[in-house]
């Protein structure tokens, strides 16, 4: 019987291995021995290999942490802003009822500052004193009066933004022990700041301006709302164009296109386009959309068009991959029970492929959100104060805002730059989280 033989053989092997381990003439034995000799080294190598992988992960997490920590350490202070409490006397003589915006709000601020420090007489010193309050204070007062004319004739205690130098000083970013001529604030000004803070007139508050204002040359008045709105408009245009075009392309190439030279050519080109540096798309946008079609410069519409060109390959490739992953049996079953090709695609294949397509689209959008190079060419690297209200208004985007602030001489823009980076990262992380969520929730495995 063949199996008896086998069993016997196995027994033999066992026996020889168990009882005569030093018998070198046995073939099985020598193999085991050789394995045993090398085993420790193999385990060591295995461990080393594993540690290499682990080390790589730790290193990358370390770099990421370093990035986050340095940005957060630099930027968190931008979310608070030093403000000064002033008793503003809205005396009626300053106001012309028909033209409230023309009133001299600066004078109101100045007179209340003079009241706080009555011993400042000299003109030069007065100028230094007035500089403690931000030049944006007047706009805040103007808004107050416009909103409620009833305050004219009364005295109100108003918190007004401090100048960026004062803000930096209050946040401890300027060393008070430096020699006077090395500081932007002189000894008198520091003395005034100390007096204000001792009397409770100097406080750090949450910086709402940072989220509600557009760009400004005064750090204490600068905000990211304009750039965020610009980013949203640009991404909306990108999404509206690239998603339908990308999906339609993928469906046609995957389901309808005949396999010939031409479709091969198209395929190669799509893959190539995915690797083209983004600045090239910017140049194309400048040459075609601006110079030939005559579209407005600096508009989110053009930015969106350019970014569409950039994200299309990503979306097409992701969409095709997710169409491919739908098992052919589903389409065949649909066709088998009499569905037309279009019905099979729209009723069965697309719904199953959609989560994968959306993931690809969101990742493409996240890429587009962080892009600056192509926008440089079409004039979106610009100083724009007004928050854009439509896709044709001049606008800038978040990464460009970061770039512009990083290049500003004022010290207070350093922390604002980091804060804007934090906001951009938050957007990117949440977009990626949505992509992961969609994949988890809707993806089906076969």
């Amino acid at each position: 019987m063949w199996f008896e033989n086998t069993v016997k053989n196995m027994n033999n092997t066992k026996h020889s291995a168990a009882y005569t381990p030093h018998d070198a003439s046995s073939r099985e034995e020598s193999t085991m021995q050789r394995v045993n000799v090398g085993l420790a080294r193999r385990y060591r190598r295995e461990r080393l290999f594993r540690y290499c992988g682990l080390g790589a992960i730790i290193a990358s997490i370390g770099f990421l942490l370093l990035l986050f920590i340095s940005i957060t350490a630099n930027g968190w202070t931008a979310f608070i802003q030093t403000e000064i409490l002033l008793d503003i006397k809205f005396s009626a003589e300053h106001f012309d009822v028909d033209n409230l915006s023309a009133a001299n709000y600066g004078a109101l601020v100045k007179s209340s500052m003079r009241q706080l420090f009555p011993d400042v007489k000299n003109r030069r010193e007065k100028r230094k004193l007035y500089k403690l309050v931000s030049s944006g204070a007047v706009y805040r007062l103007q808004k107050m009066v416009m909103k409620d004319t009833g305050i004219i004739g009364t005295t109100q205690a108003v918190w007004l933004p401090a100048d960026d130098e004062v803000d930096m000083f209050a946040k401890g970013r300027v060393d008070r022990d430096l020699a006077e001529n090395n500081r932007r604030l002189n000894d008198k000004q520091i003395h005034w700041i100390d007096t204000l803070s001792a009397t409770g007139r100097l406080k750090k508050k949450f910086n709402t301006t940072f989220f509600t204002a557009g760009d400004s040359r005064e750090p204490e008045l600068a905000g990211i709302r304009g750039a965020t709105a610009g980013s949203l408009f640009t991404l909306a245009v990108t999404l509206f164009l690239s998603f339908p075009i990308g999906v339609a392309t993928a469906v046609y190439l995957e389901e309808f296109a005949p396999k010939n030279k031409w479709t091969d050519l198209v395929e190669v080109n799509i893959n190539n386009l995915a690797a083209v540096p983004s600045i090239v798309f910017g140049l194309l946008g400048l040459a075609f959309f601006l110079n030939i079609l005559g579209m407005p410069r600096s508009a989110p519409l053009v930015g969106g068009l350019v970014l569409t060109l950039m994200t299309l390959p990503t979306i097409i490739i992701a969409s095709r991959a997710s169409l491919k992953s739908v098992p052919p049996s589903i389409k065949e079953a649909a066709l088998g029970v009499g569905a037309s090709k279009m019905q099979a695609i729209t009723h069965h294949i697309l719904p199953l492929a959609l989560p994968g397509m959306m993931t690809g689209t969101i990742i493409g959008m996240a890429q587009a959100l962080g892009e600056t190079a192509p926008l440089l060419m079409i004039g979106m690297v610009a100083f724009i104060v007004d928050v854009p209200g439509s896709v044709t208004d001049p606008a800038t985007v978040l990464p460009v805002q970061i770039y512009l602030w990083a290049d500003s001489p004022e010290r207070a823009f350093v922390e604002r730059t980091s804060a804007a980076i934090m906001v951009l990262l938050a957007f990117l992380i949440s977009m990626n989280a949505i992509a992961v969520f969609l994949r988890r929730k809707f993806e089906r495995r076969w």
Binding site: L301, V381, D386, A406, D407
Partner: protein
């Protein structure tokens, strides 16, 4: 659902395109400004003030560099071209001709003030006392042979002491702007050419062969002693603070803002201070300009008012808000002359040099 999405987005994209074209045809209700990154901080300050204190929209300002700005400005007189371009140097003759050729006939030139170019190092290091000649010898690609003969050799100097025995024995390491920058143009022209001219036999070449003279004086060394640090001046400031041996070249406003970290070197015995630059004593300073397209005044709302704001004493005066930002104001007489030019929109006539 999908069909609806596709149909919707198709409609939306058509709507977008339609609004875009109608917008382009309907004109622009804000001022478009392009140009120098050196003038950018000043122009944006004025634009913001203008936007907040008048009924007009805030102008849009692109930082394209002086040359890039001129190119856009001179592209034509249509409404899609910028109304104003900022420049950290005067318009070149070639650019002026291009403007004329493209139908931009009447341009008004407004000088806004001065900018000092500082050569700075970290506060922790010794403050240098340089001359223009030191700068030329330390940074030019080819310099006169140190043995005194009248021929050029590849720059042999590696330390400041080699250049001038009075200077410290540290390696020559200068961080500065790239060739596309107006600051670099101005530095080369004012400091290096200035130093170059102090050598008599090179000065003699200028009369014979202008091109060769320029090549000698304007070419910066490429052996690593001059490091192109990009257009970001903040980056240079940070690098200087970290490396006390290095020097950096940038605009005065960055020295003004970072006085606790860096100090400006003396050039020809003059310290780069606000007063010295304003008085014209500090030798490496240059005028800043902007150019206005006259045909757009009256077409684009707010042009006259913007010019008024910029040329008011409140802005560019000795105690104006631009001085706070680091602009060195012009003397009163010069200011009133350019303010009058702005009011009259006096066309610039540039004849061949």
């Amino acid at each position: 659902m999908l069909k609806k999405t596709i149909a919707l987005s198709a409609v939306a994209s058509f709507a977008l395109l339609w609004t875009a074209t109608s917008q382009a045809a309907g004109g622009r209700d804000y001022i478009a400004i392009v140009g120098s990154s050196t003038v950018y901080p000043f122009a944006t300050t004025v634009a913001e003030q203008f936007g907040k204190t008048t009924k007009f929209k805030t102008p849009k300002i692109e930082s394209t560099g002086s040359g890039g700005g001129m190119k856009l400005f001179c592209a034509g007189s249509g409404i899609e071209t910028p109304d104003i371009t900022n420049a950290s140097r005067r318009i070149k003759h070639s650019e002026y001709e291009k403007c004329q050729k493209n139908g931009v006939k009447e341009i008004t030139e407004i000088k806004i003030g001065y900018d000092g170019i500082v050569i700075a190092n970290a506060k922790t290091a010794e403050r240098l006392k340089l001359t223009k000649k030191d700068l030329y010898l330390a940074l030019a690609k080819d310099v006169p042979s140190p043995d005194g003969s009248e021929k050029l050799v590849a720059n042999p100097y590696t330390t400041w002491k080699d250049v001038n025995p009075a200077l410290p024995d540290t390696k020559i390491e200068v961080l500065g702007p790239p060739p596309t920058s107006g600051t670099r143009d101005a530095f080369v022209e004012l400091a290096m050419e200035g130093g170059c001219k102090t050598i008599d036999w090179i000065k003699a070449i200028k009369k014979k062969d202008k091109k060769q003279f320029k090549a000698i004086c304007h070419t910066v060394r490429e052996d690593g002693a001059y490091i192109e640090a990009g257009e970001n001046d903040n980056l240079i400031v940070q690098k200087l603070a970290a490396n006390p041996k290095a020097l950096g070249i940038f605009g005065f406003s960055f020295l003004d803002q970072n006085g606790d970290k860096i100090q400006g070197s003396l050039v020809n015995g003059e310290e780069p201070t606000f007063e010295n630059i304003a008085a014209g004593k500090y030798p490496v300073s240059r005028p800043l300009f902007f150019y206005v397209k006259k045909s757009h005044v009256g077409v684009i709302p707010g042009m006259v008012e913007y010019l008024n704001e910029f040329t008011s004493d409140k802005a560019w005066g000795e105690e104006g808000y631009l001085a706070d930002k680091g602009l060195i104001p012009m003397p009163a007489e010069e200011r009133s002359r350019f303010a009058a030019d702005a009011k009259a929109l006096k066309p610039l006539v540039l004849t061949k040099e």
